[in-house]
Amino acid sequence: MSVQQISVFVENREGRVASVTRCLADAGVNVRAMSMADAPDFGIFRFVVDNPDAARSALRSAGFLIDTTELVAVEVPDRPGGLADVLAALAAASVNVEYMYAYQINNRGTAVILFRFENVAAATAALQAAGCKIVEAIPC
């Protein structure tokens, strides 16, 4: 019940993120959702792709430092309060969100929120108990 996220350590230098995306493109990997954590000295470029294995092997052989984490993808209705309801359910179950980012699906009237939890099992249980829709892959 989770989605693989790949994170890449990027130094705060010109063209570093571009070289990551070029490497993915050359491997024929499509990025579905992404976010960038920035710090003064470095960044962490995080993304979900259509083919995590191909992405990992391409990035590794290009010498990038990578990490794989499990995210929980929750489909929420694209309306006011859609995300608020999900977060309320998590708060009620005392589940802490490390970070999250969103992916909009244009023609289905829903958005997918990607959550990073410390405790994936507890979070999944809380979300299911609250009737949230967890997806196993980001729909196209």
Binding site: F9, E11, F42
Partner: protein, 444 residues
């Protein structure tokens, strides 16, 4: 009336004219007598010297002239480390009254000791250089070296008291407070590293004090290499005469040599130290006046005599007489090192110390580079460290935790704080299979 130190000549007075202006043949006789006594004493009391003299096939009886010193083995910082902490002392601990230390190459400091008489000698040696640079009993001296195991502050403290100057033991750090103390206590002499003097000047200027607005007139600077252009800058910004002095804790601390008012090389107190200049590769003496590694033998130290101690400092001797009237040999300002030791904010740092810290920390590759630059007047050092996959995380705070852990550990081992920047694997420059460890961007 003139004091005993002030001889009525047109030249500037000299603190100890008997020794500082001794005819060369008398000086040589004094050196030989003191050297014989020193060699006999270390051979009899320090197992390390017994062992190394025996291994080299020499005994103190083989010394018949000063040239025979060349037959005796060298000593190095590594010997002090091996005998850590007190193994090279030639006096029992009940006669040792002071310990100082400098940072070592593996986190283990180099320990030096002093008897009561050593402290007296040391004060006298610093008195010579302080007086020679122009300090007088009427001066008020602000000591902005950190008081502690480092020899700088205590050395200058007692030497300046010896000449009768008034000492303000301010210690290092908190530059705005240093400037306030300058305004409040009206010191005439500033004692610190040259880079810190420049920093004090800049902070003072920012606080509205120009070169003519302070009571300062003289700087006694040391503990790190600096350039003539830096001297001019300090002199302009603080409105003072800036002088350099030299020493290293293993030999005595500050007081080995210092500039007189002519600032043409450092007068070495040769009645207390024999200086040699060697080729660091062949270990043979270089022709007089040529550059090489400075080697010192102590002639009067009781607690920690050193025989042919290799300083790793590169300089040359200036045999021409100085217009000040001293007969002692002069050495040129130290221009570099034969090893990779860096001096950052006056503190000795070896790349190997940084390496040993990194090796202790899981997830850090043994690839690093130390970049030293001068931001304004202060040395800024950044250690670039390659990270490995085991510790990289998608969460920024964990990556920061790793960086902070490295920074804290480096600060503990080195005694100064360096910035740590994490680098992508394979990005640190490697030349001919070997990483380039040090990038020193400071102007010399």
């Amino acid at each position: 009336m003139l004091s005993s130190h002030e001889v009525a000549t047109s030249r500037a007075p000299i603190w100890d004219p008997v020794h500082e202006c001794m005819p060369r043949h008398e000086l040589a006789a004094l050196q030989l007598a003191r050297l014989k006594a020193t060699l006999e004493r270390v051979y009899a009391t320090v197992p390390h010297y017994k062992r190394t003299f025996d291994a080299a096939g020499v005994t103190p009886a083989d010394l018949r002239s000063l040239d025979d010193l060349r037959r005796f083995p060298f000593s190095t910082k590594a010997d002090l480390r091996e005998e850590f902490p007190y193994g090279l002392f030639a006096k029992p601990m009940d006669e040792i009254v002071r310990i100082h230390a400098s940072s070592g190459t593996t986190g283990k400091p180099t320990v030096v000791g002093y008897t009561r008489r050593d402290l007296d000698t040391w004060a006298e040696l610093v008195a010579r250089l302080a007086f020679g640079a122009g300090a007088r009993s009427s001066d008020i001296a602000q000591i902005s070296f950190g008081y502690g195991l480092f020899t700088g502050a205590f050395g200058l403290h007692y030497g300046l008291e010896r000449i009768g100057a008034t000492v303000l033991p301010v210690s290092g750090g908190n530059t705005e407070r240093q400037v306030e103390i300058i305004s409040l206590f009206m010191p005439t002499v500033l004692v610190c590293t040259p880079s810190y003097a420049l920093h004090v000047a800049e902070v003072a200027n920012r606080m509205g004090l120009g070169p003519n607005d302070t009571s300062l007139r003289l700087g006694l600077f040391g503990a790190e290499p600096w350039s003539e252009s830096m001297r001019r800058e300090i002199e302009e910004k603080l409105g003072i005469s800036a002088t350099d002095n030299y020493g290293l804790s293993e030999v005595v601390g500050p007081g080995v040599s210092g500039e007189c008012i002519y600032k043409q090389g450092h007068h070495i107190s040769e009645d207390h130290f024999i200086v040699e200049v060697i080729d660091p590769e062949t270990l043979e003496p270089v022709p007089l006046g040529e550059q090489g590694e400075l080697v010192f033998t102590s002639l009067t130290k009781e607690a920690l005599p050193v025989i042919r101690y290799r300083t790793r400092d590169i300089s040359r001797l200036m045999p021409e007489p100085c217009q000040c009237g001293r007969t002692t040999a002069r050495m040129e300002r130290v221009s570099g090192r034969t090893d990779d030791m860096l001096i950052i904010r006056g503190v000795n740092v070896f790349p190997s110390q940084i390496e040993s810290v990194l090796l202790e920390i899981e997830g850090v590759a043994p690839h690093y580079q130390i970049e030293v630059d001068r931001q304004g007047a202060l040395d800024e050092a950044t250690v670039h460290v390659e990270v490995t996959e085991g510790v990289f995380s998608d969460e920024a705070k964990r990556v920061y935790d790793l960086r902070d852990r490295i920074q804290r550990r480096l600060a503990t081992v080195l005694g100064i704080s360096l910035r740590v920047r994490l680098a992508e694997p394979g990005t640190i420059e490697r030349s001919a299979g070997k990483a380039k460890r040090v990038v020193d961007l400071r102007q010399r």
